[in-house]
Symmetry: C2
C-alpha cells in the first residue's frame, strides 16, 4: 500500500531495454501487492554527455537525492573505450553518483542455478553449493584517494586511503549480511604488504568481539582469486576494499554462467541504487537480445531495500520458475529461446 | 662447458625437499652437457628468522649478489600467518631480495598439459590452447610506495607509484616475450580509475610504434579477471603492475590443475632468481609428498637465463615425457603415484 518515487537512470546501450523489463515487473508487483511506483527518468553516462556534456547532470543528481530508490541500467560506449585519458568519460558519472550519494556498500550476490550449471566455465562439481555475497567498499580507497603526476608528468601515483570509520561501516555491513545468511565472513586484503589492509584487519578483529555469532576468517587477495576458482562454495560473505572488490566481484560473477543473471545494490546513508552487473553491451542494443534477469533481480533487491521483502521474494520466485521451465534469452542456450521483451513478459506473468 | 655459481635459498616447509630434486636434475644436466654447478646454501624466510632474527641476513644477500643465479624454494610458516602486523615476517625477506637485486620482472608461464586437463577447475574445452606468460612488475607500485598512518593511527594509506622508466623496462620485457611467442601482448590496468595506469597506457602506446610486429591490446583488470576464467586461451603475454600481477598470476596459476607444476623467474639488471610458484606447504613438509615439477621447471628457466637453452629444453622434455607416462605425485592423481624423491629420480633419468 506504499507509494514510491523511483529515479530511473537507464543509461547507455542495452540499459533502456532491460530497465523496461524491470519496470514491467515492478508494475506487476504494484498491482499484486497494492503499491504504486512513480518513475522519473534522467540521463546518465554517454547519453548524458551527448545531451549535456556532463555524464552526471545536476538535474539527474538532484532527482536521485529526492527519490526513494535509483534504478540504474548500464553506462559506457565504445567511442570512449580506447582512450581512458579523455577528460569526460561515462564512468565518471557513475563514480560521482556513488560518492555524492554516499553509496559506500556494493552488494553482489552470486549463486549457481541448478538448471544452468552447464553454463559455468567451472566443472559442475565445483559449482555445487555456490552461494556467496561480495560486499565491496564503494566510496573510498584507490578510487577516491589523491592521485596525480610529478616530474613533469613522468611519474604517476594513486593513493589507497581508508579511515577507521570508513572501514567500520562497511565491515559492519559484512557482519550483518553474514548473520542473515550462513554466518561466515571472509575479509580479503593484502595485509602482508599494504598498510591500509592492516588497518582493515585491526578494525575487523576488534569488531569480531561484538559479532561472536559470525565465523570470521582472513584471506590475502591473491589467494582469494585462486580460491574463487578452485572452491567457490567455501565462501558465504566476502568483505573487501573498493579495488579488490572490483576485481573479485567480476571474477566471481562469471562463475554463474552468464553475467545476464546477476543483480547488485549499492547502498549507504540514504537512497539506494540497484543495477544489473553487466555492462551496456552496445553491439546488442536495440535488438531484443539482452537478458533482463539481472535487472529484474536488481528490482527485487530494490524492493527488499524499501522494506518490501515478500515482494522481493515473489520476484525471485517468478524468475526461478521461469528459468526452471527452460525458457531464456540466447545467453542461456535455453530450450525455448525468447527475446528481452518476451522474457520480461514471462517473468511478469509468473508473478 | 661452463662453471656456474648457484645461490640456493631453499627456505621453509617443502622448500628444501623440492630444491633437492631441482639440484638432482641440474647435476644430471651438468653430466650430460658438461657443465659444473656449484651450490652455495643460505637461509631465507622463517628459517632465517629463527637462526638470525632477520628473514634476509646480510650474508644471504651478499651471496646472491656474487652468484650467477639464485635457486629459491619457498618461504612462510603458519606461526606468522594470523598476524600480518608482526614486525618481522618471512615475506619481508622475499620483498627485500627483489628490491635489492633489482628483480623487476617476474615471469610466470601457465600452460595446460594435455594429459592433465582433468585436473583443471575449468571445463576441458576451456583449457584447449591455454599457453600464456604473465609478466609482472616486481619492484615498484603499491609494494614499495610510501605507506603509513595519519590521525593517530586511525587513517592508513598506501601509494601506488610508477615512473616512466620503471614502466618502460617492464613493458619492454613484455614486447620481447611476445615477439618470441605468439606475438600478442595485453596490457592489464585500471586506466579508467588510476593515474598510474594512465601512465602505463601512455608509455605502452608510445612503445607500440617501435614494436609493430606485436599485436597490442588493453584490458581493465576487472575484465581480465573474468577473461582468465572465461577464455584463458585468448592470452599470449600479459604485462601488468606489481599488485595486479600478484592477483592475476595466482588466479591463472590454478587453471593448470596443480600449483605443483608451475615455475617462475624473477629477472632484472644482474642475477636472476628462479622459484616454484607454490608456497611452503608446511603441513606437507618432510613427507616426500610435494610435487617437484614446479621446481624442476624453474631450474629449466634458470638454465635458459644462463644462456643454456638446449639444456633448459632438455629438462622440459624430460618433465613432459615423465608426466606423459602417467607417473606423478599425489596432487596429479596419477596412475602411478610416486613420492617427491622418486619423481625427481624419474625426471633426472629421463634426461
Ligand atoms: C566503470 C568502472 C569505473 C567501475 C568500477 O571500477 O567501479 C566498474 O568496473 C564497476 O565495477 O562498477
Ligand atoms: C608473500 C607475498 C608478499 C608475495 C607477493 O605478494 O608478492 C607473494 O604473494 C608472491 O606473489 O610472491
Amino acid at each position: 500500500m506504499g507509494s514510491f518515487k523511483i529515479a530511473v537512470l537507464d543509461g547507455d546501450g542495452i540499459g533502456p531495454e532491460v530497465i523496461k523489463q524491470g519496470i514491467k515487473v515492478l508494475d506487476r508487483v504494484g498491482v499484486r501487492f497494492g503499491h504504486t511506483f512513480h518513475y522519473h527518468f534522467a540521463p546518465v553516462g554517454a547519453v548524458a554527455i551527448d545531451q549535456t556534456g556532463d555524464p552526471l547532470p545536476p538535474e539527474t543528481l538532484a532527482l536521485c537525492k529526492e527519490s526513494d530508490a535509483i534504478f540504474f541500467g548500464a553506462i559506457g560506449h565504445p567511442r570512449f573505450d580506447n582512450d581512458p585519458t579523455l577528460k569526460v568519460r561515462p564512468e565518471q558519472g557513475l563514480l560521482r553518483l556513488r560518492k555524492e550519494l554516499g553509496l559506500y556498500a556494493n552488494l553482489r550476490p552470486v549463486a549457481g542455478y541448478a538448471q544452468l550449471t552447464h553454463l559455468s566455465p567451472l566443472r559442475p562439481e565445483r559449482m555445487v553449493g555456490v552461494d556467496m555475497l561480495i560486499v565491496r567498499e564503494l566510496t573510498g580507497g584507490t578510487y577516491f584517494g589523491e592521485k596525480g603526476r610529478r616530474d613533469g608528468g613522468n611519474t604517476a601515483y594513486d593513493t589507497c586511503i581508508y579511515s577507521r570509520a570508513e572501514v567500520e561501516r562497511i565491515v559492519q555491513v559484512g557482519f550483518e549480511a553474514a548473520r542473515n545468511r550462513r554466518g561466515k565472513l571472509t575479509l580479503v586484503d593484502k595485509a602482508n604488504v599494504m598498510e591500509s589492509s592492516r588497518l582493515w584487519r585491526e578494525v575487523t578483529q576488534e569488531m569480531a568481539a561484538n559479532n561472536p555469532d559470525v565465523a570470521l576468517n582472513y584471506m590475502f587477495v591473491d589467494n582469494a582469486a585462486m580460491q574463487l576458482i578452485l572452491n567457490p562454495a567455501q565462501f558465504d560473505v566476502i568483505v573487501t576494499d573498493n579495488l579488490f572488490g572490483d576485481i573479485l566481484s567480476d571474477a566471481s560473477s562469471v562463475l554463474a554462467g552468464s553475467l545476464g543473471l546477476l543483480p547488485s545494490s549499492s547502498v549507504g546513508a540514504a537512497v539506494g541504487m540497484f543495477e544489473p552487473i553487466h555492462g551496456s553491451w552496445p553491439e546488442g542494443a536495440g535488438q531484443d537480445r539482452a537478458n533482463p534477469v539481472a535487472t529484474i533481480l536488481s528490482a527485487a533487491m530494490l524492493l527488499d531495500h524499501l522494506g518490501l521483502v515478500a515482494e522481493g521474494d515473489a520476484v525471485r520466485h517468478a524468475v526461478n520458475t521461469t528459468l526452471e521451465s527452460g525458457v531464456g534469452t540466447e545467453d542461456l542456450h535455453p530450450q525455448h529461446k525468447v527475446g528481452t521483451n518476451a522474457m520480461g513478459d514471462l517473468i511478469a506473468d509468473a508473478l
